[in-house]
Symmetry: C2
């Protein structure tokens, strides 16, 4: 990882810094969870590491703690929304074919309805 | 994590043990990548930790190395399939609403075509 901790032009870095508004759901020392502005399910939350990482493709085994932090928060969000039994889908988009819209790693947490297959 | 390292009744544990066939794509010390038997995209590969973990919901920060291992292998699969530039989607299903079909943690790696939104 040779990226800076924060990119001043990054939408999510600016949200994390409090420079742009977002509906915060939960947060931890290493990550935040915000409502997706265009929700695709009753629960549709984005879990974002505070550290700027452009996408999953650049994550290496050295980033294990960051990965663990975002999945722990994703699970916390799912529990807080009562999805433990019904289930939920976690989605990470990398690059154009996946429609990655912000070049800062994030997990989509979707639940609260039956999710179809294929996942796009 | 109080689960055994291996569940003798688990489909993926049996594939990992060589007791059931699968089309292996890549493997590392901690994970294997196999072709999905019902592919939904030109690349549709499952990345599975060798250790039995029933799903993402039971993963804790203590499992950081396991998480890092499966995402590292997912990225290796994407690179091997030439998806670095075009992109790919990683999907983890937890529970019935998401259609989790095997209770052993796995990442779906999808790419090779534009992926739609919502992701199910």
């Amino acid at each position: 990882m040779t990226e800076p901790e924060r990119d001043p032009h990054c939408l999510f870095c600016r949200i994390i810094a409090g420079e742009l508004p977002a509906l915060k759901i939960l947060e931890t020392a290493s990550a935040i969870a915000i409502a997706d502005i265009n929700p695709q399910a009753p629960t549709h939350v984005l879990v974002i590491p505070r550290r700027h990482i452009s996408g999953i493709a650049v994550v290496t085994p050295e980033d294990a703690a960051t990965l663990a932090g975002i999945f722990d928060l994703a699970n916390q969000v799912a529990s807080a929304r009562g999805l433990d039994q019904s289930g939920y889908r976690l989605v990470i988009n990398q690059g154009p074919d996946a429609g990655q819209s912000v070049p800062h790693l994030h997990i989509h947490v979707l639940g609260g309805r039956p999710l179809q297959w294929p996942p796009g």
